[in-house]
């Protein structure tokens, strides 16, 4: 009897302002308030609000048998509080149904684990505080930015007190094994790991509107049948995807909302099936095997690695210079500066500097607010210069 575990990731970064060299040292803001607001306006309207309403309806219609889980980053929640408090309210309504689980992560949707475990732990704590403040909620399952996962991290997360963690069901880690069971890392036997079923997840989030796909159009009937095929050969089908799938990556005109509306009934029509949240999956099923992940995996691209964030020299230089400032920034005790520094850690900034498929005009251009990856690097480095000035550090002609 497979359970369906639907987990949706909602995030928006604080995108950088076009920050020319001449702004350095002139107290100019780092983030593009107007642009961030306009992105949020659009996504709230097209995706968050209608999908939240639909999910709430589905939970009520099924008497709470339909369940869903979210990760809501701190940078998103902060922006929603500022300009779209009605979205916060609608998330609160969902949480109050008892059929919704919230997942823990870093407040800033950062790559901090790879550069500063201390600040990583602080950012996870900040996110817990935020969930407590807005929703009165304490998460028990963790996901790291972009589902970053490796042996060492599993141990670290277990030691933070989490009972479960989400990761990518990468073929090169699983080999012949199925993502539809729970596992634990070699280094952390008390932390159960849920692996994303990337085929079924991507059917929904990527291929749904691809007319050249042999299974197009994807109906809820068909999809529920695929899920049911795991019967007897798996405990949980983990459908992990961006929340913006609904209404943004897949526009309303693709029929994605109709699909979602029909899905719960179709899944529950099979008597053995149900919906579970990640925490319930962890409680219900045993870990069936051990994962041994030395090289960090993510849910990104075909490589399932970090190359979209840290693959080129610009990205590596930018993030190195940022974390080099950790000591003096934290020592300054300047709350505004510390917050600025952490907002600069948001993974999206480094993603926007990715050059590997830039010329192909594919998904990486989507949502990139800059003309080019090079522009993002320039603004980012100029801001680093400004941060150094604010810290009273020697100006230096070259930060390299």
């Amino acid at each position: 009897m497979p359970s369906v575990c639907l987990y949706l990731h909602a995030h928006q970064p604080f995108r950088l302002r076009r920050y020319p060299i001449f702004d350095i040292g002139r107290g100019q803001p780092y983030f593009d308030e107007e642009r961030n607001r306009s992105y949020l306006d659009r996504i709230a309207l097209k995706s968050y609000l209608p999908t939240n309403q639909l999910l709430l309806d589905l939970i009520k219609q099924t008497g709470g048998r339909f369940k869903v889980s979210f990760s809501l980053t701190g940078t998103l929640l902060e922006q929603l509080e500022q300009s779209h408090p009605e979205v916060i309210t609608s998330f609160r309504d969902l949480v109050n149904t008892g059929s919704v689980e919230l997942i823990a992560e870093t407040y800033y949707h950062s790559l901090a684990y790879l550069y500063s475990k201390e600040d990583f732990a602080r950012q996870v704590a900040l996110h817990r505080e935020k969930l407590q403040q807005l929703f009165g909620y304490s998460p028990q399952v963790f996901r790291n930015t972009e589902l970053i996962f490796n042996n060492e991290m599993a141990k670290f997360v277990q030691d933070l007190g989490y009972k479960g963690m989400l990761a990518e069901g990468a073929d090169h880690v699983l080999g012949w094994r199925s993502p539809n069971f729970l596992y634990h890392a070699r280094t952390a036997d008390k932390l159960k790991v849920l692996l994303r079923n990337y085929r079924l997840s991507d059917d929904m989030s990527f291929r749904f509107s691809t007319q050249g796909w042999s299974e197009w159009p994807l109906t809820a009937d068909k999809f529920a049948a695929w899920i049911n095929q795991a019967n007897g050969n798996g405990n949980t089908i983990n459908l992990f995807m961006d929340y913006e799938t609904f209404g943004e990556h897949q526009w309303e005109s693709t029929g994605i909302f109709h699909f979602l509306r029909a899905l719960p009934d179709k899944v529950l029509a099979y008597p053995d099936n149900d919906f579970k949240t990640p925490g319930e999956v962890v409680d219900a099923f045993p870990a069936m095997g051990e994962l041994d992940v030395h090289n960090t995996i993510t849910w990104a691209d075909t490589e399932r690695d970090l190359s979209a964030w840290l693959g080129n020299q610009m990205q590596q230089a930018a993030i190195r210079h940022l974390y080099d400032l950790e000591g003096p920034i934290l020592a300054s005790g300047d709350a505004q500066m510390i917050d600025d520094w952490r907002k600069l850690q948001t993974a999206d900034h480094f993603y926007y500097m990715c050059t590997k498929w830039f010329a192909d005009g594919d998904v990486h251009k989507y949502f990139n607010p800059y003309d080019s990856p090079y522009d993002c690097f320039i603004y980012f480095m100029n801001i680093i210069h400004d941060l150094r000035l604010r810290l009273g550090m020697p100006k230096g002609e070259n930060v390299n």
């Binding site: 930018a318 990856p373 320039i378 002609e397």
Partner: protein
């Protein structure tokens, strides 16, 4: 095929593009006759070159080459006039217009003597030649737009004679080839030509070794100097004044920056004076008009190439710089900006952004490396063979029998 200039006797990208395209068309099996107005000592191996001024019993006497005749409008007074905000029309010397007309007459004679299927004419100076050849032979005419009068003048004080020649050619031609979507839009917008008549064929560069030795110029970078390069005619269209103003902003942040302007043109004296007036006398070097090996050395030496054009139909120099492994900042008002991603792009009027990006490239080595590595890879996708094949498609379409 009718052209106006050819390397090594070219004054700009037109001649470079004509030669690249002609060679590749010939390699694609086209039996090509390339006609030029004036004789010079050059004979390509795979196609014929004809000079309209060669005496073949023609009744028309052609004057000796006037070195002032270039395919580019002189804009010496434009910026001055713009500043004074006066309307004024620039007249070409009667010599140039007379030469264009004579070239057309010779073209008619040549068209009557030679065997060919299509006529292909490059830019306004040879459009009358193409039109005359079409009239004499009845063969289809393709006009190839490397620049319009609106590019050359920035849209102000267009020469009415040139404009009229372009207008007539665009209307009477059987097909138009534009070097970019940017240029195609200009032909649609300013000349009212329907979009379906215009095909975009982007320029390319010759695959050759741009990794030249720069030992003879290395002293320019002594003391950690960083070279920012401008290559182009020193004329309003190319934005040398924008380049200077950006340089002024940059040197406050990067005192080691050295700006080199390679080219000549009607604004040369003015730009030199302006450089001095801005206190940049020792920061800006004027290299004069360079070509071939010397130019390739300069591309290679430079830490950064800037194309600040006000209106650039394509911008072949950008490809040459990239092929030399030099990062580029290009005007968004250019055709090349449509086809190159691994570069920095700015609006030509945004001097602050241009200066900011220049400083960034000089300052952040990872940026310079990233642009260099990805840009030199990206430029490899351009070939004159592809451009020639697209022209061939146009020929075949015009020669195909009409459907019954």
């Amino acid at each position: 095929m009718f052209g106006w200039e050819f390397p090594p006797f070219n004054s700009g990208g037109l001649g470079v593009a004509c030669e690249g395209l002609a060679r590749s068309l010939a390699q694609e099996g086209v039996s090509l006759i390339f006609v030029l107005p004036r004789k010079f000592d050059y004979q390509p191996t795979n196609y014929r070159l004809i000079f309209a001024d060669e005496d073949k019993g023609s009744s028309i006497k052609v004057k000796a080459v006037n070195s002032l005749l270039t395919p580019y409008v002189t804009s010496a007074s434009y910026s001055l006039l713009l500043r004074n905000n006066r309307r004024h029309l620039i007249h070409y010397s009667s010599d140039l217009m007379a030469e264009v007309a004579r070239y057309a007459q010779e073209a008619g004679r040549i068209a009557a003597e030679e065997e060919f299927d299509v006529i292909h004419a490059h830019d306004w100076l040879s459009f009358p030649a193409g039109l005359e050849a079409k009239r004499v032979s009845g063969k289809p005419l393709i006009v190839h737009v490397h620049a319009t009068e609106f590019d050359r003048t920035g849209g102000n004080n267009c020469n009415t004679q040139v404009f009229a020649i372009e207008q007539a050619a665009f209307e009477e031609a059987d097909a138009i080839i534009a070097v970019s979507q940017f240029t195609k839009n200009k032909v649609i917008q300013h000349y009212g030509i329907p979009s379906e008549k215009i095909k975009v064929v982007h320029n390319a560069i010759e695959p050759r070794d741009y990794n030249v030795s720069v030992s003879s110029l290395q002293h320019l970078k002594q003391g950690g100097k960083k070279v920012v390069l401008f290559v182009g005619r020193i004329t309003l269209q190319k934005g040398p004044d924008v380049f200077l103003r950006a340089a002024r902003r940059v040197v406050d942040f990067e005192p080691n920056a050295l700006f080199i302007i390679a080219g000549s043109g009607d604004m040369e004296a003015q730009v030199i004076r302006e450089a001095a007036a801005l206190g940049l006398a020792d920061k800006v070097l004027f290299a004069g008009f360079l070509r071939g090996e010397e130019l390739r050395q300069l591309y290679k030496l430079a830490d950064l190439y800037v194309l600040p054009s006000v209106s650039e139909p394509f911008g072949i120099t950008t490809l040459e710089a990239l092929a030399s492994g030099t990062p580029v900042i290009i005007s968004k008002q250019s055709g090349v900006a449509e086809v190159i991603d691994h570069c920095l792009k700015v609006d030509f009027w945004d001097v602050n952004e241009m200066a900011s990006k220049i400083v960034a490239v000089l300052r952040y080595s990872e940026l310079q490396e990233g642009l260099k590595e990805n840009g030199s890879r990206e430029v490899k996708k351009f070939s004159w063979r592809d451009a020639a094949r697209k022209c061939l498609e146009v020929y075949h379409r015009l020669l195909a029998p009409l459907p019954l």
